[in-house]
Structure formats: C-alpha cells, structure tokens
Symmetry: C2
Subunit: 357 residues, 2 copies
C-alpha cells in the first residue's frame, strides 16, 4: 500500500489503516518517517493527557473511568499504556489489560500497550509518534498511562498537554518520598482511594507543597523586577533550587494555574466528573495563557532532536564501517592493546570527516 492510500484511509478513520500505521511507526518500518512527516501539519486536534503515579495508585482504573466519561460526552478516546519493560511486571500488566477489555469492545476506544523497542528507537519517542498517528486518526482524547515506574513518568510529562499525578494514602511515607521533579511536572493532582485513612493528610501535604511552589513562582516574578525579598520571606533555601527552570515539561507560564488537588474513588467512579471538569479547565487555561503553544514548541524541538539522534545512529551503524571496525578489533580490545575510548574516538573522527567522500 502506498503512503497516499494509507494517509487517505487513516483520515477516513478506517480501523485497519490505523492499525497498519501504528504498527509501521512502532516498528520503525520503511516509510514510517515519511508517514509522520505527512501527518505533521494536521496534528494538534487531540488533547493529550498523561496519567502517572506509583504502582498500585489505581491509574488503570482511573484511566478506564475517565475514558468511559469521555465516551459519554461523545468523544473518541485512545489509551496508550507505556510499560518501560520491567521483566517483573508481566502479571500486573496482563491484569490491567483484562480490566480494560470492557472498553476495548467499544469502537470509539482504541487501546495500545507500548513496550521497549530495539536499539535504534527509544520507548518515549515511539510513544509520542504513535500518539501522532492517533491524533491524525481523529481521536479526540489521547490518554497516556504509565504502567511501570522509572524515567518514563518524566518522559510522559514531556509528551502531553496535561499531566495528572495519581497518589494514594498508602504511597509510602507520603509525598516526602517522591523524588524532586515529579511534583513539579503535575498539572493536576488526584488522591485516589480517597475513602481510606490518610487521604486528608495526603491532600494537605500536597497543598502545602503547592503553596511553596506558588511562593516560588511569586519570587521568580519579583526577581525580574529587581526584588528578592519575597523569596527569602517565603522560605529561603528550598526555593533557590527552582524546579521549573530544569523541567521543559512545566515552564513558567505568564499567569498562574491553580493546581487542583482532587479526591477520587476510581473503583466506584467517584470524582471522575470533577476530574473531567478540571482537565477541561486546564485545557482552557493552556490556550488562553499561551502555555499550550509553548509546550508544543518544546515538544517539537525535542522530537526533532530525537529524530536526528535516531537517524545518526542508523547512519553510524548501518551505513558506515563503524561496526566492522569494532569487530575487527575485538582481540585488541580484549588484550588491552586498545581501549574502547581510543577506538571509539577514531571512529567518531572518521564520522566527522563525513561519509560522502
């Protein structure tokens, strides 16, 4: 099938074309970049929502409920479950998929799990590219859910318009145990299993931390006007290491977004309406504040960097004799006559001379 036909069928929302395009992109098959380039101008229709949080927080159930809610509003929904390939979570993952099967029977819902790919592509990049196909395929909402734990949470936040962080009262010793960075990427906080002991305390903890962040943003604004007092008054040392400057996913925005902290009991569907309302509010805020354009530009720059690195790896390992050079020197490496660093430097020096000669 040629690209034009595939594109036409994808835009006509033919399920077979969607499956074919996704599989092509996921596996990096010949022509996948041409496909992604062709759909690029039409992207941005879908809203991309990330659901992240620790294992056992109820992310899958929340995702399922949220998807059902979107469907009730007449919206089509794609769910992309990202599994950063833990060899040890096969069972849990399978359970999640079975739970979501109620949704899978609905033609307006598309569910896909993404696991690790080969060496030439990263999971995060592949996930974003699959979301592009889903966007072009006409889905109104794309929910990206992290199944495992790891670097993927931060990657997901860099892939979406709105990040929802789901916590539960049982989350270890509360939010103090969360590494720096994870609180700052969230646009919405959900305390799931809100009927359990400790839920109120967790909400309060989050709100206290958000208060610190608001103080931080305030100080940041003041600093531009020559003042520094506010920051010192608001808490000093901790505020100096402003997280927003380190995280492209959550840049400082012109006006303040009041990060909602919601309580849900996803297993009973409680709090899902409020979540949907706050997601809508965040979308509106992103549009009005200019934050949406800013986030999307950052994502496009990041995507281009990923495309360059992937193409560079392809060039190095498939189009030059770098791999053969390494194989030829295996004995030298093993016997210490040359180090990987000297051999590697030689290979890169050759690359810099170009391969068109």
């Amino acid at each position: 099938m040629d690209l034009a036909t595939l594109l036409g069928d994808l835009r006509a929302r033919r399920p077979a074309a969607l499956a074919r395009a996704i599989s092509m992109v996921e596996n990096g098959r010949s022509g996948f970049e041409a496909l992604l380039a062709a759909i690029h101008p039409s992207l941005g229709r879908a809203r991309r929502i990330g659901i992240t949080g620790p294992p056992g927080a109820g992310k899958s159930t929340l995702t399922e409920r949220l998807a059902t809610r979107f469907r009730a509003d007449g919206l089509t929904v794609a769910v992309v479950a990202v599994d950063p390939t833990s060899p040890f979570t096969g069972g849990a993952l399978l359970g999640d998929r079975i739970r979501m099967e109620s949704l899978a029977l609905d033609a307006g819902v598309f569910i896909r799990s993404m696991a690790t790919r080969g060496s030439l592509g990263g999971l995060a990049t592949a996930t974003r590219e699959v979301c592009d196909v889903l966007d072009a395929g006409g889905f109104d909402r794309i929910i990206i859910e992290t199944v495992g734990v790891g670097q993927s949470e931060l990657d997901v936040a860099r892939s979406v318009d709105t990040t929802v962080l789901v916590l539960v009262p049982e989350s270890g010793d509360g939010i103090q145990t969360l590494k720096s960075g994870i609180m700052e990427i969230a646009d919405l906080f959900v305390v799931n299993k809100a009927d359990r002991p400790g839920a109120d305390r967790l909400r309060q903890e989050i709100e206290v931390m958000l208060g610190i962040r608001t103080g931080n943003a305030f100080r940041h604004v003041k600093a531009h006007h020559g003042g520094g007092q506010a920051g010192r008054r608001a808490g000093g040392q901790e505020l100096v290491d402003a997280p927003s400057s380190r995280l492209p996913a959550s840049p400082a925005l012109p006006a303040a977004w009041k990060h909602p902290v919601l309580g849900t009991i996803a297993s009973r569907g409680e709090g899902i309406d409020e979540l949907a309302i706050e997601l809508e509010a965040h979308d509106q805020w992103l549009r009005v504040s200019g934050g949406l354009e800013q986030r999307r530009k950052r994502r496009l720059a990041q995507r281009t960097r990923e495309v360059v690195e992937r193409a560079a790896r392809r060039w190095i390992w498939q189009e030059t004799d770098a791999a053969a050079t390494i194989e030829r020197h295996l004995d030298d490496l093993a016997q210490g006559r040359v180090s990987p660093y000297e051999l590697g430097a030689g290979i890169v020096a050759d690359l810099k001379k170009g391969s068109t000669a």
Copy 2:
C-alpha cells in the same frame, strides 16, 4: 590534579583518588575518557556480580550478606546500586542505604548509588564505567544491585560476569509472570525467604523451566551436527525462539553450566555460604569454558558502541549548529510548515557531509 597523579593514587588505593575518579567518570567531567582509556589494560582483576530481581525480593539484604561473607574471606568489595530513577521509590531507596550503613563503616567496602544522568550519558554506560574505576582501584568483588525495576535488569546482566536472579515465593503468580528474557540472563537462581509457603513450588517451577532450557541447549548443539530430532522431542514450538541467540549477555557456551537454584533466608544469613560457593564455581566454569573471554569481548564491543554514540551526540549538539537550526525553525515546526522529520533529515544530511570543511 593531572591524570598521571590520579592514576598513581588510584593504583595505590588511596580512597580520595577513588572518590575523585568515580565522580569524574559519573559526571563525564573533562578527562574522564582519558582516565578510562588509561586504566583499560589493567582491567579484569575484579569479578563482577549482578544481583537482580523484583522489588521486595530482598536484594539489598542479600547483597549486604554476600559482601560481609566476601569480607570474611579477606576480599575487598564494592557495591554499586543502580536506581533507574523512579521518582516514586525515594523512600525505599533511602531505607536500603541506611540498612547498608553497617558495611559502609568498613574501609574494605565501597558503596555507591547510581541514578540517572543527563542526556549525554546513559545510566548503564556510566555504571559500567564506574565499575571499571573500582576494578582499577583494586576491589576484588564488585556487586551491582538493581534497586528499581525496568530495562536496567537486562543492562546489568550485560555488565557483569555472573548474574544472580533473586525471587521470592510471593513473586506474583510465579515465574510465568516474568517476561521472556529475564530467566535466560540468570546464571544463578536464588529463592529468597525460602522458609515461606510456596518456596518449594517456586524452586520446582524454576527447575522445570531450566529443564526446558537444557533441552534447548542440547538441540542447539545437535543442530551443529546435523540433527534436529532432539529439539522436536524436547518440546517443539517454544524452543524455536531460542532466547540465547537474542541475548549477548548469555551466549551459548561450549559446555553446559548447570544453573543452580539456591534457597536463602538472607535476613538470617542462611544460604549465603552456598551462594558464595556457587559464585566461585561459576567463575571457574567461565574461565575453563572460555565463556569469560567471550562475555568480556561482547562487553567491550558494546562499550565501544556506547562511546561512539556518546561522542557522536556531543559532536552533533555541541560542535555543530544542529541545535541552533532547530531553535530557528520552532515557528515553522509549530505552524506545520516543516515537520521534525524533514528538519531532522536535513540536519543529518549536513552531518554526513562532515564538519571538518
């Protein structure tokens, strides 16, 4: 401090030099590749042991006990804990470190946690490079323990001489839930918390799976002699997708290694002696069979590839105008006038022309 002085101090096993060299390598500071190249010929003294397994399997306790055992034999020990940066495991990680503090008071023990680094270096590569420094620094045993879950288990197995997979009776629904690949990387199996219900069943399950693998290896050997019957007799379909061919960490070896399945109760120190004995046996087998040289050659080839990719990324983003080109086209990207794929292809086309012009 110049490189020669640092090298001399490192070889003289001065703790300050070790800390300085590790920090230099971990942070990719100026001269770190020269340091790694300089120590390359002297590597291979240390034995590298990987401890991997699902969360809650007791890996840290087992590591601590094993390190204590090595110390009793008069050996020096380095422990490298690899945390693939889950933002959600801060608490558990901290707990692990506190537990290991008994070891940290011993000058013959060195403990280091490795977390995610910046974009120019990967965690797995940095971990291997730190192990090289520890090897050059004179440690007899290097234990690499994965703290979280994720791709890192497979990465760790590619970094060590011997991989120990630690499971517990509570590990979900048993080994069926483990994704393919993880069983095949293990040289030794440990059923920890062996006094709990289900321990015997887990051991039996592992042994059944090992029986299948032995059948597989047998078939592999037979195939070289023109026979194929053994494979078909031993189970057919499942054996066709031989995992060993996909996993550089565990290549087919000339003679068979009888993968031991050990029971331990790490919290009480039970079974640790047996583990140490089997680790010694595996080391002997690796040397006699030629497997050690084979594994180390594979690792050196892999390291060289990583060095090339890192240097290529440095070249692209720091020495060419690729980053500026992307920034210049942010509006074009956002407005759909150019896609990341077209822009990226242009940048790579320029790279291929070389940068020495």
